[in-house]
Symmetry: C2
Subunit: 204 residues, 2 copies
Amino acid sequence: MPAPHPKHAAPDHPLLAPIAARWSPYAYDPSRDVPPEQLLSCLEAARWAASSYNEQPWTFLIARRSDQQAFETLLGCLLEANQQWAKQASVLMLTVVQHDFRRNGKPNRVAAHDIGLAAGNLVLQATALGIDAHQMAGIDLDKARETYGIPDGYAPLTAIALGYALSPDAIDDAELQSRETAPRSRKSLSELVFAGRWGTPAEL
Amino acid sequence: MPAPHPKHAAPDHPLLAPIAARWSPYAYDPSRDVPPEQLLSCLEAARWAASSYNEQPWTFLIARRSDQQAFETLLGCLLEANQQWAKQASVLMLTVVQHDFRRNGKPNRVAAHDIGLAAGNLVLQATALGIDAHQMAGIDLDKARETYGIPDGYAPLTAIALGYALSPDAIDDAELQSRETAPRSRKSLSELVFAGRWGTPAEL
């Protein structure tokens, strides 16, 4: 596990270390590569996620920065605002969702949710290995489909950058440094856990 | 962490312990309750998940078995096939998704995905505490909305059962025992990680 960091969660109740340590950096060290065996562990973690009817409706398209052409191709499928920082990451991925069940062709209402389970596993495995991760919704869906030949029935959903966050002290850009040290915020549990009736906080 | 179990993952690459240990039991010990402080850690884990624009589009409706009436109410929102086993769990929850961004009312394309991130955190935190979890898509969406007064703009998505799995040896029902000891299966990484072009396995 990495050393304590100002962006780690300040939880009200004890958390599993990688859950508390996970955050989404924008500033990555372009000189450091994720070792292939650790990348495999991250993907393996995604592989073992739960899914409705064990459908595993997830596919990952992946490019490592060490393969410059492949990396540029995947980078080009992100929205411009994400390209600006994600170009420093070590690994980029697109997640792709299969919307219908393979076994009967019927819509899988929770397919995107289940991609979230797999991506969450991937990101926590990364965090446990000292790798930082930043997930993005901001991708060019049409370009991703065209670039990779994603067939009908599948759709690009998110992107994930993996790498090693720069220490805030090592960030030159003042705006970026400010963003990387801003306090994290979350709704309180009383705003998101209800019992009996919508809007009634659970007494736990 | 619980002792090794026949349903733990047999990963091809090293995994964070709770990722390897997580599975979805159907047989729960009805005499054991999840301690409230551990339930709070599970919900806290969900709270710190990543989400697009930090929208946190998740709400949890929760009932503990120790409150029989509340538990029966939530149990009644599951499909019959899930009620049969989930009635033995210690805690039941419904996850509810907010489909539009609060800040601008526009559709949040990844809201369901982000519920998956939160639910994944919750389930891994549970597993780390020795609590078993089983997520379900099989819920009565209309009944859940009506029962809890879930407003427009929000929609029930999944259910989660928490409790303590029975040892397979302690399961009386032969069919259920067989289900609880059946080997787990997953696609291989070469089927789900592509590079360069759809269908081309990544060389990692």
